[in-house]
Every structure is written in structure tokens, then in C-alpha cells.
């Protein structure tokens, strides 16, 4: 089968297309996802192809969007809703935490809904269009959270998310949408939820990361490779449930751990990874566990500020050298 080159956003669109084609119970809705094709064009052409019945626009009502998706999912559909920016999900957080997250536990009725949410900064979006909120989701029982870094994973994880009987928060990175390309098959396979992927091997240290920071971490690893150090990069892909085995094996192989993410530091998902390692791989550690993250401040607008706000290749490689030389 010939492979074609797809961007991250193309892959998401391709995934939605296949899901709509193969599964009559899939519906796609959200603000401007219909004829317009979504703020980022992830749904472009889908309404035309599958009808206004299966792909449609909604009022600006995040709580009703999420709540109705829960109701549909409980009746056997597989709704995929788009929240225009993950930042806006905070207006209806109870529908995720209290409703979607608890329904199966309380009632045994599965809630196979998927919430697509574009995340992250690096494009001058300012404080309300650039947030990384993954740990708000990861901290919620009953919710799964995925965060692909490559087109093939974006599509493959979307398949798994939509077919999963649980609510899945499908985080997408806006910075990667058109920057990351891959040659992939027309349809491809599902990527299982809960399985990390080693993106680079190495024994001097390991970076645990996901989303846009996979790419920055790989660059940093390449950079210090020139200085004779080989760093493993683990792309978690799923944040909840995360791949404990892969993480612990990586720690065993390297003995030095760095966590990198674009979200705020205090109480972020990186803390969870560090805590896991500090609890379950303590005996394997030769150095402190380092977190490279955004600092605890709103995402600034000005490019001069955002440049230092987001973890950069330089910051990561510098910290890697310190870690390896500890």
C-alpha cells in the first residue's frame, strides 16, 4: 500500500474520516466543525461527506456540548466533540470530572465519548489560547488521556480513543499541526492506549515527555550526542493510564531521569512521573529527577516572553548535561 505524506492535522482529519465511514455510531460536533471545517480545519470536508446529521455545528455552550456527548455515549453512540481550544473546557469542567468520570463507576453504563482539544502555545496565542491542561485531566478518575506527538500516533490513538468504552480526552498540539509530517498508510492501524514509544535510544539519561516536547527533546538529545552522550527519549503518547513498565525499564537502562513538558511546573503531570520514579525506581537512580517545564505563570503573549516560557532545546540540552554530569 503506498504511503502518503500527512501532517499531524491531516492525520487527525483522516482518522475522523475513517471513523465516520466505518462506524455508523460515530458523530462529530462542536463549534464551527461543520461546513467551516473547524478552527484548525481538522474536520474540513467531513460535513459535506457525511451530512449535517453526523457532523454539525453547535452553539457556544461547552457544558451542553460535553453533557450531550455524555448522554449520547450512554445511549450507544460514539460522539467525538471538539472543544475549540482546550482552554475553554474550563467552563464545563464538571461535565468531565463529575459526570463523565464517574458515570461508569456509579452506573455501569459506559461513556464512549472522545473530546478533542487543541493545546499548547508557541504561536502568539496568549494566555487563553495556549494552555496545556493535561494534568487537570490526568488527575480525574475514570478518564483516559492521550497526547500524540506524530501523525501516525494522532490517527492511531484517535481510532483507539473513539472505540474505547471510556471517556477519552484526546489532546492535540497546535504547534505540531502543520509542522510535523510523516509518510503513512491511507488508513493505518489503531495505536493502543497506554503504550509508550521509545523515540531515541541511549544509556546516559532518559527524557520522559509527550506532545510538542517530544520534538524539542529529540533535538536536544541530538545536540548533546555531538558531545558524546546518548540520551533515550520516551514519548509517553498516553498520559492516563501511562506506561509504567516502559518508564521503569527506561530508568533501569539509564539511571538518570528528566521529565519535560510544556505545562506549568507546580502540580503538573511531570510531578506525577517524577513521583512514580522516586517511589518505584529509587534504587535505580544515580541523580536527582529533573523537571523542565513551563514556569508557573500565565502563557505570555509577546514572542520575547513566550520564547523563554516554553521549554527550549537549549534549556533541555543544558539541563541534560548537568544531569549526566551530576
Amino acid at each position: 500500500m503506498p504511503k502518503t505524506e500527512m501532517t499531524y492535522i491531516d492525520a487527525i482529519r483522516s482518522g475522523l474520516d475513517h471513523l465516520l465511514k466505518d462506524h455508523k455510531d460515530v458523530v462529530v460536533y462542536g463549534q464551527d466543525v461543520g461546513a467551516f471545517g473547524g478552527a484548525f480545519k481538522a474536520t474540513l470536508g467531513l460535513q459535506e461527506k457525511y451530512g449535517t446529521d453526523r457532523v454539525f455545528d453547535t452553539p457556544i455552550s461547552e457544558s451542553a456540548i460535553l453533557g450531550s456527548a455524555i448522554g449520547m455515549a450512554m445511549q450507544g453512540l460514539r460522539p467525538i466533540v471538539e472543544v475549540q481550544f482546550v482552554d475553554f473546557i474550563t467552563t464545563a469542567f464538571h461535565q468531565i470530572l463529575n459526570n463523565a468520570g464517574t458515570t461508569y463507576y456509579r452506573t455501569k453504563i459506559p461513556v464512549p465519548m472522545t473530546v478533542r482539544a487543541p493545546c499548547g502555545g508557541g504561536f502568539g496565542g496568549g494566555p487563553f489560547h495556549s494552555e496545556e491542561l493535561e494534568n487537570f485531566f490526568c488527575h480525574i478518575p475514570g478518564i483516559k488521556v492521550v497526547y500524540p506527538a506524530y501523525p501516525s500516533d494522532a490517527r492511531g490513538l484517535l481510532y483507539s480513543a473513539v472505540l474505547d468504552p471510556n471517556p477519552v480526552i484526546f489532546l492535540e498540539n497546535k504547534f505540531l499541526y502543520r509542522r510535523i509530517k510523516e509518510f503513512i498508510l491511507p488508513k493505518g492501524e489503531a495505536v493502543p492506549i497506554g503504550v509508550a514509544q521509545i523515540r531515541r535510544t541511549g544509556n546516559d539519561a532518559v527524557i520522559l515527555t509527550y506532545g510538542a516536547m517530544v520534538h524539542e527533546s529529540l533535538h536536544a538529545a541530538e545536540q548533546i550526542s555531538a558531545e558524546g552522550f546518548e540520551v533515550m527519549v520516551v514519548d509517553l503518547r498516553t498520559l492516563k493510564p501511562y506506561d509504567i513498565d516502559a518508564i521503569l525499564s527506561a530508568v533501569a537502562a539509564t539511571n538518570r531521569v528528566m521529565v519535560v513538558h510544556e505545562a506549568w511546573k507546580t502540580g503538573g503531570f511531570g510531578a506525577e512521573l517524577a513521583a512514580l520514579v522516586a517511589e518505584h525506581a529509587f534504587h535505580l537512580l544515580d541523580a536527582p529527577i529533573v523537571r523542565i517545564t513551563a514556569p508557573d505563570c500565565p502563557v505570555p503573549f509577546s514572542p520575547e516572553l513566550e520564547r523563554v516560557y516554553r521549554p527550549s532545546v537549549e534549556k533541555i540540552s543544558e539541563a541534560l548535561l548537568d544531569l549526566i554530569n551530576y
Partner: protein
């Protein structure tokens, strides 16, 4: 229903449904009165929240729907559950945290529902279930059923953003739902004057492009006829409707609350309008039933309640070992 037993009893097509509704109301009232006593005896873990005095709205609407219809009851709608077929036994199991109950002890008191009866289990967050119902009805209709929805909302809950989003959503997508605001004058301790400033909550209907009606929520006979007419419209037009039902919360918000902030006169006024009392009077005055029948019915209900409570008590709590079972659904 044994109303044929005595000679003088008349009947019309509605009598049977009225009697079914009455039975549901008896069951609701008597179950909750038992729960109240149990609470004050310290035998209930957590709180007790009743719909005493408000049974008519739930009972009428539960009996009027079809098996395909969906319901999103709120705190005070025990008669929705019972009317849709939930067993009193399951109500006790729920309150007593039994593993045999509808939430297997994971959730408590009023937070239950049985999907096979078309009833969603509420979350506490006021208004949050309304859009869940909207989605549920949309889904069932997409799956080929002629489902419509019944939603129950407090006067207090009408102030939530979720109320607004859900009603608007249902209207925009032509989702046939009867949104019933049970205006029982209070939201916890807060009187309705501090909840909204329109004259009547029915004035919110036009803002959603919906028809809106106000009814007496305690008069089963009238309510039944009114809802029947509205439902025909809803099913025909596939449009949601807002129905504001006047009623009164006759006890505290929960049994921990003595509701001393409620004026006695208000309670007295609504005591006169007790829905069970009104329906019984109607049945008796029109010779649709005799005292004996009603006594018998009440007795049947009480028996069921007694047995159910005993049985529920005898059943096991969930095993601590199962704490983590079913946080996620398996494929």
C-alpha cells in the same frame, strides 16, 4: 388495583392511570416517610432528601411516557423512579449503600437511576444532567426510536448556566423534551425571590423559542390532562416545551435541615393542596374508588416498603476489595 371490588365504583378510561399514579405516589411518600424516620433514628449513612408534597409531577410524567422515553430526574423525584418501575427495594438498597442497589453502594441517596427504565442517575451538580438528557434523546432518535425526554429542574437550578445551555441546545436541535421546573419556592434556604426576578419562570421559555406553560404541580387530574396535551404537541412538532409546575417543598432541604426559615402559612397553604390528598378526594368524590380500596392500596404499599427495608438491610454492603472494580469499562 381492586377498584372493581365494590359495586358503586364508576370508571372511565383515566381511572386506571390515576390509580397507578396514586400507587406510585403512595409508594414514594411512604418510602420517604420511612427514610425520614430512619434518618432521625441515625440509621442512614449520609443525608435524606425527599420529594414529600411534590409527588404528583414525577408520578404523572413517569406514567405518561413510553418505554422508549428518557428521564432525567432531580433530587426530589422518587416518583419518577418508582413510576418508571424502580423497586422500592432498590431505593432502600441505595440509601443503605448495599451492593445489590442500583449503584452498588458507590453512590448514595437520590443519585441513582436505571437505564433499562429510561432513567438517568443524576450527578449533584445542578443543571448538569439536562444536557445529558438532550444528548440521550438525540442519540435514541438517531438510533431510530421515537424517544422524547422528561427533565426535572428546581427553581434554584434554573439559575445555573447549565440550565441555559441545555434548553438552548435542545431548542436549536429540535429535541423533543418536556422541561419541567418544579418551583417549590425554595432552593435549600434561599426563597425564590433571591433566585430570579421574572414574575414567573415560564417567562424564560420565549427566550429559548419554546412554548411555555404554567400549571399547578399538585393536582394530578389536571396535570395529567395538561401534560398529555403538551406531549402530543411535543411529539408532533419535535420541539421542547417548558412547563413550570407550582408546588412546595414540605420538609427541609434535607432531613438535617428543620426549614425553620419557611413561613408556617406557606406550608399550611400547600398542606391543603397535598397532591395525594387531592387525588384521593377526587377519586372518592367521583366514586372512582372507595375508602376501602385506597386503604388497601396504601396497605399494599406499606407492606412492600416494610418488606423491602427488611430485605435491603439483610443484604451485603459492597466488599472493600471491589473498591477499584469498574472505574473504567473494559472493551
Amino acid at each position: 388495583m381492586n377498584s372493581q371490588a365494590t359495586k358503586k365504583i364508576k370508571t372511565n378510561t383515566s381511572v386506571n392511570i390515576w390509580l397507578r399514579i396514586l400507587k406510585t405516589m403512595f409508594l414514594g411518600r411512604l418510602t420517604e416517610e420511612r427514610l425520614v424516620r430512619l434518618y432521625h433514628q441515625g440509621k442512614i449513612f449520609g443525608g435524606v432528601y425527599t420529594g414529600i408534597g411534590q409527588e404528583a409531577i414525577g408520578a404523572v410524567s413517569a406514567h405518561i411516557g413510553t418505554p422508549d422515553d428518557l428521564y432525567a430526574p432531580a433530587i426530589r423525584n422518587v416518583t419518577v423512579h418508582l413510576g418508571r418501575g424502580t423497586k422500592v427495594l432498590d431505593v432502600f438498597r441505595q440509601y443503605l449503600g448495599r451492593v445489590t442497589g442500583p449503584t452498588r453502594g458507590r453512590d448514595g441517596n437520590v443519585h441513582y437511576g436505571e437505564m433499562d427504565k429510561g432513567v438517568f442517575a443524576m450527578v449533584s451538580h445542578m443543571g448538569a444532567m439536562l444536557s445529558v438528557l438532550v444528548g440521550g434523546v438525540m442519540a435514541r432518535r438517531r438510533l431510530g426510536k421515537s424517544t422524547m425526554g422528561f427533565a426535572y429542574i428546581g427553581d434554584g437550578a434554573s439559575s445555573t448556566g447549565d440550565f441555559h445551555e441545555a434548553l438552548n441546545f435542545a431548542s436549536v436541535f429540535d429535541v423533543p423534551i418536556l422541561f419541567m421546573i418544579e418551583n417549590n419556592h425554595y432552593a435549600y434556604s434561599t426563597p425564590k425571590e433571591f433566585q430570579y426576578r421574572c414574575q414567573s419562570l415560564v417567562e424564560k421559555a420565549c427566550g429559548y423559542g419554546m412554548e411555555g406553560l404554567e400549571v399547578d404541580g399538585n393536582d394530578v387530574i389536571k396535570l395529567y390532562d395538561q401534560i398529555k396535551i403538551i406531549l402530543e404537541k411535543i411529539r408532533k412538532n419535535n420541539r421542547p416545551v417548558l412547563l413550570v409546575c407550582d408546588t412546595m417543598r414540605m420538609r427541609g432541604h434535607g432531613e438535617h435541615d428543620d426549614a425553620s426559615y419557611v413561613p408556617k402559612e406557606l406550608l399550611l397553604k400547600y398542606k391543603e393542596k397535598d397532591p395525594i390528598h387531592l387525588l384521593k378526594k377526587h377519586l372518592l368524590n367521583n366514586d372512582f374508588a372507595c375508602e376501602q380500596d385506597l386503604k388497601k392500596l396504601e396497605k399494599e404499599c406499606l407492606d412492600e416498603i416494610n418488606q423491602s427495608y427488611k430485605k435491603a438491610l439483610s443484604e451485603p454492603m459492597p466488599s472493600p476489595d471491589d473498591l477499584l472494580e469498574g472505574v473504567y469499562a473494559e472493551d
